[in-house]
Structure formats: structure tokens, C-alpha cells
Symmetry: C2
Subunit: 195 residues, 2 copies
């Protein structure tokens, strides 16, 4: 069995073995380990949420299951969601659909950067603007024919890289797990029990 | 035309007109305005993302379009994403798929609380645990037959409320925009241009 070492030290020289800021030995070590032992790739990602009153709630992320072991993040992440005043909230956090756009932006960006690194494409700068169309009549139950979720989401990247073929970079975003979850759909099972 | 006032003052008595911490006059005012003038429901939510090197990037959320106007949040929200060391990151933020679970948790929670409020159901406590299955072989391009996104996501709610019918509360989560985007899918259009 090829072990995955989650504590691989970073090199002291920041350019030593790094492409796009990614330590290639670590990344390729993970890729090769999973290629040799496929069950290492099976992950369970997790989040805990607590309602704080009104439209305000907080998600805590502490760890996940991957590489056949429980892995704890270096720090605990807390993510607050709320609604703006027009939607009867206090604006104490981005709202849930804005958090969804964040998840998508983060994932297509990471996917492009990592897959470019593996292919030896060096990216210097990368930024994106996202916009998604959502008709509140769906959420509010005012019209059953109106979709309740986002119908269309547009992502516009601007990139400075050492290749000219922007379509090649675009194709790398197709590896993104969040992009695939949103475009292909996932099964979501909900249970509600009395506390 | 029925105007939506995004600056409706909150009542000085915190219990005055509040259900589940939501100011009902504000919420029902929005519902009635959109019912009378459907185009007020058309929203465009937005996010801007900047790559910070490696697997670290940051999304900024400042405002959105809704009720036929540009609306600015009271504060700017910054959301950091990174990967854990095992995935060649520095753990400077939840990773993108954990952010996706956060968006889903926040949205089904808000949907349950708000739709319960409209129906006069009082919720005292509400928390949830989420877990999603993701096989990294998809993202890493090791096996074309392996889905790249989440396949199954489970949400377990625990709730303290003034009704016994937990199935009724569960049904309210079906209004969630993020739940619907994930289960129904959305069109995502990506453009990449040189900076």
C-alpha cells in the first residue's frame, strides 16, 4: 500500500518543486497513491449547522474522511449566513445562494490552477466574476411553474498565464466537483427528528 | 406599483411581530409585493473571486440585483477557500466542496425557518449535520466512469418546535433554492479571457 502523508513538509525554498504555488510532490503523491489504491479516493466531507435565530445561521467545518482515515483541519472554520434587510434579515453574512456562488468560484478556480500545474501551465493571475439568475417567486411558493433554484450561472475568468489557448484553460474547469454537482445534480436525502 | 422598502425599521420590542426571529411584516411585505408585481422577484446574485496562489482563493460578495434595483449589502463579505495538506493546500479556509455543504445547510435551514414562520409554526432550536460522498478519482481524472461531483448528500436535522409532525417541517426544505439547484441542476456558462 502507498501511504498518503498528510504532514508532508513544504520545501524551505518557495520555488522548489512548486508550480502555481502548489507543491507538486505532495499533489502527485496523492494522485499516484489513489491511482494505485482506488479506495483511498473515497471521501466524506462534512458540515454542522446551527440556527441562530431569524435568517441567521452558522456552519462549522472541522474535518473529513479521506485516504481511509479521519482527517482534522488545522483550524475550525465558521461560516455565517444571513439575508439582507429586503429579505427580512440583518445582513450578518452572505446569503445561502451567494455562498453557493462562492463554492462554485472557489472550485473552478482550484480545478483550473491544479490541473494547469500538472500540465506544466504556469498561471500568474486569475480572477473571476460570477452572476446567477434566481426568481424569488419559486422560493416564496408564488408560482409552481417558476424554478426554485438558480437557472443560469455565468462565470467570467480573467487570466494571465504562459499559454495563449484560453479554451484549454476553460476545459480544465470541467474537473471541478462543485461545477459537476451543480450541472449534473446530486441525491440529497433529508431527515428531520425531534430534539 | 407596490414598492419594496429595504430599510423597513425593525420594531423596538423584539417580540413585536416576530416569528422565529423574522419580522413578519417585512417578509410578508416582500411576498405581497412580488405577488402583485412578479418582475420584482427576478434577482441576479453575484460573487467575485481572486486567486491568492496555490489552492487558496478568496470570494468577495458586495451586493445583488433584486426588486428592480441594485442592492448593496451592509458590509462586504470575504470567504476564503483552500485545501488541507493532504490535497496540497495550507488549510487557510474550508475547501470548495465544504463551502458547498455550507451553502446547502444554510439554505435548507433558512427555508424551513421562514416557511414555518409564515405558517405560524414556532421553532425554538434547529441544527443539522451534513455529509456528502465524493470520490477524488473523478476530480483527479483517474477514471472517466467515476462522477466528479458529490453523488449523495445526507442532511440530518434536529429540531425543537411547537408541532409534532416532523414530515411537515421536512417538506418546507423543498423550497430551498440551493437544494433545488443541487438536485435539479443549473446551466453554468464559463468564459475565460486573457487579462
Amino acid at each position: 500500500m502507498t501511504a498518503i502523508n498528510q504532514n508532508t513538509p513544504m520545501p524551505t525554498d518557495p520555488n522548489d518543486g512548486m508550480v502555481n504555488g502548489i507543491h507538486m510532490e505532495t499533489l502527485l503523491g496523492t494522485v499516484n497513491a489513489i491511482a494505485q489504491e482506488p479506495e483511498l479516493g473515497a471521501c466524506k466531507f462534512r458540515a454542522s449547522n446551527k440556527w441562530l435565530g431569524g435568517n441567521h445561521n452558522c456552519t462549522t467545518v472541522t474535518g473529513f474522511y479521506g485516504a481511509k482515515q479521519e482527517i482534522t483541519h488545522k483550524q475550525q472554520f465558521e461560516l455565517h449566513a444571513d439575508e439582507p434587510p429586503i429579505l427580512a434579515g440583518n445582513d450578518d453574512g452572505a446569503n445561502p445562494v451567494e455562498h453557493l456562488l462562492n463554492a462554485l468560484a472557489a472550485c473552478v478556480t482550484t480545478s483550473m490552477v491544479a490541473h494547469a500545474a500538472v500540465r506544466g501551465i504556469r498561471i500568474e493571475e486569475l480572477e473571476s466574476e460570477l452572476e446567477g439568475d434566481l426568481d424569488l417567486r419559486g422560493f416564496l411558493g408564488l408560482d409552481e411553474k417558476v424554478p426554485k433554484g438558480f437557472t443560469d450561472i455565468r462565470i467570467n475568468f480573467k487570466v494571465k498565464a504562459d499559454i495563449d489557448d484560453m479554451e484549454q484553460l476553460k476545459r480544465l474547469t470541467a474537473y471541478s466537483p462543485v461545477f459537476n454537482t451543480l450541472t449534473q445534480g446530486a441525491n440529497v436525502e433529508i431527515r428531520v427528528e425531534r430534539k
